[in-house]
């Protein structure tokens, strides 16, 4: 099946929001999604955007039952390693179930790698849940390293009340 990858525009936020919910459902955390189409429009299309997006589109004749032609996306942002410099972080990579196995996910990820290299990045980083075997297999087959397994890298987070307390300096 033919498909094309292009930079996301403001108008794509509706479809990206739709697919974010589909991905959250797959990751079993649908009730946790607070981001809306409006948030994406506000946060991704300002002077110093919080993220960048690319979308995968199929021709009209392959549209989904609901009429969608945008069938995948990758959302990424630039980050920094104090040892290696510029890096890119891929926050989401998603292809609708009926469109998997056609190279779309690989093409989206490759595009993020290409854009990252063009911006002077030397790393492409992302996270995967340890139970997500299809994704783990896919990524490892592409040549990446599981930094958590290899050097014991743990991801930590402060949010909600704990974040507010920390910000007040009173935690």
């Amino acid at each position: 099946m033919d498909f094309s990858i292009r930079t996301a525009t403001l108008e794509d936020c509706k479809d990206i929001a739709r697919m974010i919910l589909e991905l959250a459902e797959y990751e079993k955390v649908l009730d946790q999604v607070k981001v809306t189409q409006k948030d994406l429009e506000q946060d991704g299309f300002i002077k110093n955007p919080f993220f960048h997006g690319i979308v995968a589109e199929v021709p009209e004749e392959h549209r989904t039952i609901e009429g969608h032609i945008k069938v995948g996306y990758a959302l990424y942002f630039y980050s920094y390693s104090s040892w290696k410099g510029r890096a890119v972080y891929m926050e989401d990579l998603y292809v609708m179930p009926d469109f998997r196995g056609m190279g779309i996910g690989k093409a989206l990820m490759s595009k993020v790698a290409q854009l990252g290299l063009a911006a002077g990045c030397s790393q492409l980083n992302f996270t995967v849940l340890d139970w997500n075997k299809p994704s783990l297999d896919f990524y490892l087959s592409q040549g990446c390293t599981d930094i958590t397994a290899s050097i014991g890298y743990h991801c930590l987070r402060c949010e909600g009340d704990k974040l507010e307390q920390l910000a007040k300096g009173s935690a």
């Binding site: 942002f77 920094y80 290409q114 991801c155």
Partner: protein, 180 residues
Amino acid sequence: MVDTNFKMSFKVRAAKKEDCKDISRMIMELAVYEKMPDQVNISHKELERDGFSPNPFYECLIAEVSDENKTKDGYTIVGYALYFYTYSTWKGRSVFMEDLYVMPDFRGKGIGKGLMAKVAQIGVEKQCVRLQFSVLEWNKPSLDFYVAKGAEDLTAKEGWHFFRFDGQALHQLAKEAPED
């Protein structure tokens, strides 16, 4: 030798371009502590270029003590926190603290806490809902410090694994991108 019982005042402020040499010095000290000094590829030049442009890749705070408390090598800049903004497609704006470091002789005085609290405050002002960072699992002092501040270990709790493409694998992946 600094008297660790002496109550020392310090100031946390945004880094300026001129601070990059000190930040670079402390990055190297932190790499030595993490047992990977040979892994540092960037110098103060990259820090200057990447942190002080119209679309910076990171922001940085530094902790400064007064002249009478300077180190034996003459430094008054004794700690830093390097961070950047990220995005969670579930929760929205977030901030990632890439490095938090205080020189050994200046620990136990609230400087690390002061730096981290300031990153949190800046994030909250920008409507960030999360502060994230990483710790190596053998680094028990740091893990204890962060958990005491209310952080959760997502790797232990939810099975998050951090993955990376770099070097040859990154270039190979990029070569396979479709034509525009």
